[in-house]
Amino acid sequence: MAVTGIAGRAPRRTRSLLDLLYRPEVRQVLFQIILIIALAALFWMIVSNTAANLRRQNIASGFGFWNTTAGFDISQTLIQYTNTSTYGRVFWVGLTNTLLVAAIGVVLATMLGFVMGIARLSRNWLIARLATVYIETIRNIPLLLQLFVWYFAVLKSLPPPRQSLELMGGAVLNLRGLYLPEPLPQPGFEAPLAVLVLGILAAIGLAIWAKRRQRLTGAQFHTGLAALVLIVVLPAAIFFLVGAPLEFDYPTLRGFNYAGGIVVLPELLALLLGLVIYTGAFIAEIVRAGIQGVPKGQHEAANAIGLSTGQTLRLVVIPQAMRIIIPPLTSNYLSLIKNSSLAVAIAYPDLVSVFAGTVLNQTGQAVEVILITMLVYLSLSLITSLLMNWFNARMALIER
């Protein structure tokens, strides 16, 4: 800075260095350099310490363990797995189990959340109060505690297989899990299946055509009714015409346990119950806020132009409410995916349980295993956000 002397005083050269320090640009650069050096030093310290510690404890590093035989069994495997499979295979088993819980959980929690959110706004006082009690109770109790309740207090106190609870449609519930009848397609099942697929495609095409026609001419078309015929009535008719080629494998008691059917492990059941009921309460609050966020004038305007209650909801209120709902809904989906890692507490074989738990304990390679696990959750979060952002962009208000 060029400081010239005033009234004959000498220029204050001695302060120029300090003055330089008070210039914002200089400070910014200095501050960033300090931060970079500090972070680099921290990183270097961590790496060198870890390397030294691992050498001292004789723990191998690198990803050589990926192809080593695991040697333990997993209670639920969606892909081929035996105890002679590799640790890499264990990773994929854990990942698919996590994805299974996440996918079912997201769908069911959304359904429960929307029902409860709308129930909380119900004109029926009792229903609204019941929904409020559900939301305020569930939201304020830790998920881990709820998982324990479902697993240890409810499902583990179910009767043993010989005194199982018989449910509707041949399903059975006991200490060992939920047994569902398994559908077995017989020869000839392809015909109704093909009709169903064609029907769905035709219904989509019909909807596009009807929308375009309505935009051009204003004439309406009963898309819903046509879709019902195409997707439900027609395939069902064909199905019975070719002689109902579908049989069910019902679970039956053989000796001390049930055999046949699809088995849902109590761990999976408890995890799903906990996740869905917990996340559902949060989604319900979001849905309520979204619906209340639509101005009252929108309802009134829709009434004034003669739309029915259903049309008002479907065409006016919900599309606008969705804009408010989607961003927080996304973060709830993300937290459901992350919360599925609590499976480790009730021994459901998810990624954290079998990979960051058993594999880590057997190999001792904490750094590699935890890093891989974190990367998986990071990419799952990223993919979900990308999908939901795309959906959000489609639903967003189109402005000039």
Binding site: Q32, I36, N49, R123, I141, L144, A153, K156, S341, L342
Partner: protein
Amino acid sequence: MAVQRDLATGTPIAAASAPMPPPRSEVGAIGWVRHNLFSSWSNALLTAVALFVIWKLVDGIISWGIVNAVWSGDDGSACRVEGSGACWIFIKAKIGQFIFGRYPEEERWRVNGVFILAGAGLLPLMVPRIPGKTWSAAYTLFIFPVIAFWLLTGSASGPGAGLLDLLGLCLAVAGLAAFALSRSKSARVPPQTLRLVSGFCFLLAYPLLMRWLCSTSGLLNLRPVPTELWGGLLVTLVVASVGITGSFPVGIALALGRRSRMPFVRWASVGFIEFVRGVPLITVLFMASVMLPLFLPAGVSFDKLLRALVGVALFAGAYMAETIRGGLQAIPRGQFEAAQALGLSYAQRMGLIVLPQALKLVIPGIVNSFVGLFKDTSLVLIIGLFDVLGIVQLNLTDAKWFAPSTAMTGYVFAGFVFWVFCFGMSRYSQMIERRLAAGDRR
């Protein structure tokens, strides 16, 4: 006065023109029931369903929790009787463990003392009508933590204590020197910088000197209690309160960093926030418990509780940062510019103008983070610490108390504890929000 009558018909005019009272079925309790419960057939059906659900729930709760519950007995045998409900004697017998964990029985007065001291600080802070907020805040933030630390851990005179004392003394001297320099006119560095430096030195020196005073006074030589013995509500409250107070400055720093004009600071903040928010808390806790020992030089080891505290505070800080960023984004640019025009420094702009407004805007979000953090404290049981839930879970394995209803009883107790704190926090924040919004009310 005579009643006015219509000339043609002779009916009293006043009676005809006065509004008729509404029908009995439209007002009062009957009207309310008709409008809210039986306005249509579908509504009446819903009411019936709701009544059925409520009846089932209330009946179940009363018969399990009161009528069939076991209220007296010395061990689980009373609860093993067929058809018995909640095993409340289990809670009664174990309540000491649920609150203090394995903290030695004759030392539990120390924990109670900490609870009372915390209440003495928080109550005047939280009740708006009690005056002296500055002093209570100073006590709660600076004096209470040191006393609580000393009371809970006992006299901490381990190796390196002498070095800490020396460091505290040096910091205090440096702080005094900086303060003295800021008063003299000949100093080349601006006085506010010096005052900031001296305040910083005092802040660091204070806990060290307090520790020294406590340990050398010898008046109250407490027995050390290692953190492995802590448990129950004590651990839950310690983790939650340290996490809450720790996550706040971390969150503010990260939020300001994310909005900084310095690219590297911004990238570092964004990277940290998005990484932590993308992974589950369990993996962060695993990292704190399994990987942190690997990161440190050989021989240096952290307390397990401290490791969990660091993990929880950093995790909650990343979420707090996003909440606070929302508030910062809502403050109009004019506020920054006006503060700049007044010649305020960055710290003054943020501390006096921007943050007070931004934080007020996001109180609901901040309390949501706090409630989330409080619930997340239950996860420390996975890395082997015993919070309320952990200690309940541990006691369920006690063979003496084995009974079908013990598990549910324990979980109901733990759930109630969590619910009271979380529900209380959210209700309190709603009250504060209403108070702070008084200026915006029309």
